[in-house]
């Protein structure tokens, strides 16, 4: 009984131009992987700018990095790694048709992502108070280097763009919770969870590069 209904539910998500669910699932995964490659190139440009300016002004980077709060950066790293774990568990729940588990894991992931943003908010607020603002608004006297504004411009661009991606991820996961509650997701069709999970892992990986490059070089 349940098998038939799963099979029929499976078919209801099958778009007409695919032969079967597997082909659709494989295509969706491949599509997300290709998209992640574009994201890597997108952030890659910023990493290139980072590398170039660090090669030109290594002292600046050492000095400026001390302004970044390594402790809270590390907490954020743990938070994101944890959220990657919970999103993977969400996928597992979907595979096992445990919709309740799926929703709970999604909520935890959202919670962790939200925590990341809150910590980031406090980090930024603290910097703004000191006068460490992006671009031509920079007016902090504490670093004796004429190009200090450039380090922080790069810092804000990289972490800012990353933060926007975290927010997008939160939005996607809320959407997944809505879908799960409507019984749209199940072990025969959990593609949105799988590909959101892939996206989320990339957001995590990018932070894992950002953290040491920005915070740990002092």
């Amino acid at each position: 009984m349940s098998e038939t209904s799963v099979v029929e539910e499976k078919k209801s998500h099958l778009l007409h131009h695919f032969v079967d669910s597997d082909q659709q699932f494989e295509a969706s995964k491949m599509g997300m992987w290709v998209f992640l490659v574009t994201e890597i190139l997108f952030f890659g440009g910023l990493f290139a700018a980072y590398i170039v300016y660090r090669a030109w002004y290594p002292d600046l980077y050492l000095q400026a990095s001390e302004e970044l709060d390594t402790f809270w950066g590390a907490v954020n790293t743990a938070v994101l790694i944890g959220s990657s774990l919970t999103v993977a568990m969400a996928i597992r729940s979907a595979q096992l048709n445990q919709i309740k588990g799926l929703i709970i894991n999604l909520y935890i992931t959202i919670g962790l992502a939200f925590t990341f943003m809150v910590i980031k908010y406090f980090e930024y607020a603290h910097k703004f108070e000191k006068g460490i603002l992006p671009g031509s608004y920079y007016n902090y006297e504490g670093i004796a280097h004429e190009k200090a504004n450039i380090f922080f411009s790069i810092y804000y661009m990289m972490t800012g763009l990353h933060g926007i991606h975290v927010l997008i991820g939160i939005g996607l996961m809320i959407w997944l919770v809505v879908k799960a509650k409507k019984n749209v997701l199940h072990s025969g069709y959990y593609t949105p969870v799988e590909i959101t999970g892939l996206y989320w892992h990339l957001v995590d990986v990018i932070w894992i590069f950002l953290f040491p490059l920005l915070y740990l070089i002092d």
Binding site: S5, E8, H16, A27, L41, F43, Y137, I150
Partner: protein, 579 residues
């Protein structure tokens, strides 16, 4: 679900011949009609047509801007516009032609239409994403148009800093417009890659993939790798203006040559995004109209990939005088020459395909011949520019302007026109007037050479680019060039004329007016809504003209044309089951 059933599950499928219906009553254009149906369509063919109308519109606008430029340049000083207006006009001409016409033209307009048909698929992998990418294009266009009317942009399409970071006008609006547009390009590329990998019909192995698709595949790879770098560059430039972040503006501590590296890292591969799909079209057209198997299939297929790869490593040839190290210039020059070799190989392969063929010089073939001639000139002048010592003299002169118009217009636009005229019957089920098409082609060819040949001479004599005023010795060249532009313009107006006439009163087209063996011609003209009424099965290569046509029309019958039963009914049933 025991073993008995699994052996019983081995079905024997019946492969039959499916002749395409001639003059079908129902097809993709008259099913799902009305403005709303078009605006919400997920049919790749309709999306392709919407792109086609958009790129045609922007080509017209860009062309009008070109005529304005050339008219202003009739006299050495002011003819009828001021310098700052002129600077905005050439900026817009470049930005519109490159971003709104050339980049999307073959992949998004023609490619969207033809790719699933050539694969025997019912659509691209992500049809809704396809529609989204069209709307992203439209939004990007709206931002750019807004930029024109809210202050204009006079930086040149290359937006070099520090001028672009400090000048007035609506630079941010335009960089944002192009930024948004880039995502349209990325998503199209993404869609194509997944479609080619996952949605090929039975029998279409990689060695039977039409060269048009190898071209689109290589292009898509470049699109997804290069465009994000443009995106970040424009984002950084926008932030430079908005917040003064200072990485490109020396007044704020940044480096303007770094901007150039970032910009050309995308913009050089971008020219391959523009031309490689054109190469794909030329392979199709030459083989079809020579009715002969393509010479050197793998050489052509792999050369597209080679060009895509090497094309990422040559960006510095735009910067030989800019201040990069001599070593960098050396490496870039060497690789620039290397990337010309696979291209040359293609030209020879195409000529070899024509050798002992059965050539029918219809309009698509005529455009292909025009392409071979003009693109070769463009290619050789590229060799000239790749030579370091000579480039020092020729950089930033009209020689460069002539070179890129020969490859972009003489190459890409001619290939696009070849494809447009080739697939026109498949898109609209109508034929156009061969007579007027050939007249138009002739005028465009003559006008094009009149416009741009003198520019090689001017450039070598020292005439710089982007010049509103110029010294007297160049006047006769400029005037001749302007005359050529008007001749070309007339050619294009005639083209618009006979194409519109074809749409309204053209002779109805058969399924395969050119006698091609390619898969898209084994279904009716215009194409059916779901492309094929069966699942095509391929047993030959796409250019095997020595095999009979019937062998290219094989397929397996599918029930519901691919739809899998009454989805909604089973969904409701399963819901009650769960309760």
């Amino acid at each position: 679900m025991a073993t008995e059933e699994s052996t019983a599950n081995v079905k024997r499928v019946q492969v039959k011949r499916f002749k395409p219906e001639e003059y079908p009553e129902k097809h993709y254009l008259n099913q799902e009609t009305g403005l709303w149906a078009w605006m919400t369509t997920v049919d790749h063919k309709k999306i392709g047509l919407m792109y086609l109308m958009s790129v045609a519109f922007f080509f017209f606008i860009g062309g009008m801007l070109a005529l304005l430029i050339r008219t202003e340049l009739l006299t050495p000083a002011r003819t009828f516009m001021d310098a700052d207006v002129y600077n905005q006009v050439f900026t817009l001409h470049g930005a519109i032609m490159i971003f709104f016409f050339l980049i999307p033209s073959v992949p998004a307009a023609l490619g969207n239409f033809i790719l699933p048909l050539q694969l025997g698929a019912k659509d691209v992998a992500f049809p809704r994403l396809n529609l989204a990418s069209f709307y992203i294009y439209v939004i990007g266009a709206l931002f750019t148009i807004t930029a024109i009317f809210t202050g204009g942009v006079d930086t040149g399409w290359t937006f070099y800093t520090p001028y672009s970071a400090t000048t007035g006008g609506s630079v941010m609006m335009m960089t944002l417009g192009v930024f948004i547009l880039g995502f349209s390009s990325i998503l199209t590329g993404l869609n194509f890659i997944v479609t080619i990998h996952k949605l090929r019909s039975p029998g279409i192995t990689w060695n039977r993939l039409p060269l048009n698709l190898w071209g689109l595949y290589a292009t898509s790879i470049i699109q997804i790798l290069a465009t994000p770098v443009l995106a970040i560059t424009l984002l950084l430039l926008t932030m430079e203006r908005a917040l003064g972040i200072g990485i490109f503006d020396p007044a704020l501590g940044g480096d303007p040559v770094l901007y150039q590296h970032f910009f050309w890292f995308y913009s050089h591969p971008a020219v391959y995004i523009m031309i490689v799909p054109g190469f794909g079209i030329i392979s199709e057209v030459i083989s079809t109209f020579s009715r002969k198997v393509i010479f050197g299939y793998w050489a052509i297929a792999l050369s597209s990939l080679a060009i895509a790869f090497i094309g990422f490593l040559v960006w510095g040839h735009h910067m030989f005088t800019a201040g990069q190290s001599s070593l960098a210039s050396m490496v870039f020059s060497f690789l620039t020459f290397l990337v010309g070799i696979p291209t040359g190989i293609k030209i020879f392969n195409w000529l070899a395909t024509m050798y002992r063929g059965s050539i029918d010089m219809k309009t698509p073939m005529l455009y292909a011949m025009v392409f071979l001639f003009l693109f070769t000139i463009g290619g050789f002048t590229g060799i000239m520019l790749g030579a370091l010592a000579v480039d020092i003299h020729l950089h930033d002169t009209y020689y460069v302007v002539a070179h890129f118009h020969y490859v972009m217009m003489g190459g890409m636009v001619m290939a696009f026109l070849a494809g447009l005229h080739y697939w026109w019957p498949k898109m609209f089920g109508k034929m156009y007037s061969e007579f007027w098409a050939k007249i138009s082609c002739g005028l465009v060819f003559i006008g094009f050479n009149m416009t741009f040949l003198p520019q090689f001479i001017m450039g070598a004599q020292g005439m710089p680019r982007r010049y509103f005023n110029y010294i007297d010795q160049f006047q006769s060249f400029h005037q001749f060039s302007t005359m050529g532009a008007y001749v070309m313009g007339i050619g294009f107006f005639i083209m618009a004329g006979y194409l519109l006439h074809s749409l309204m009163k053209g002779k109805r087209a058969t399924a395969n007016p050119w006698g091609s063996r390619a898969l898209e011609w084994q279904t009716s003209s215009p194409a059916p809504l779901h492309n094929f009424e069966h699942t095509p099965v391929i047993i030959n290569g796409p250019y095997d003209y020595h095999k009979p046509m019937s062998e290219f029309q094989l397929g397996i019958a599918t029930s519901h044309n691919g739809h899998h039963g009454n989805e909604h009914v089973s969904h409701t049933e399963s819901k009650t089951e769960q309760v």
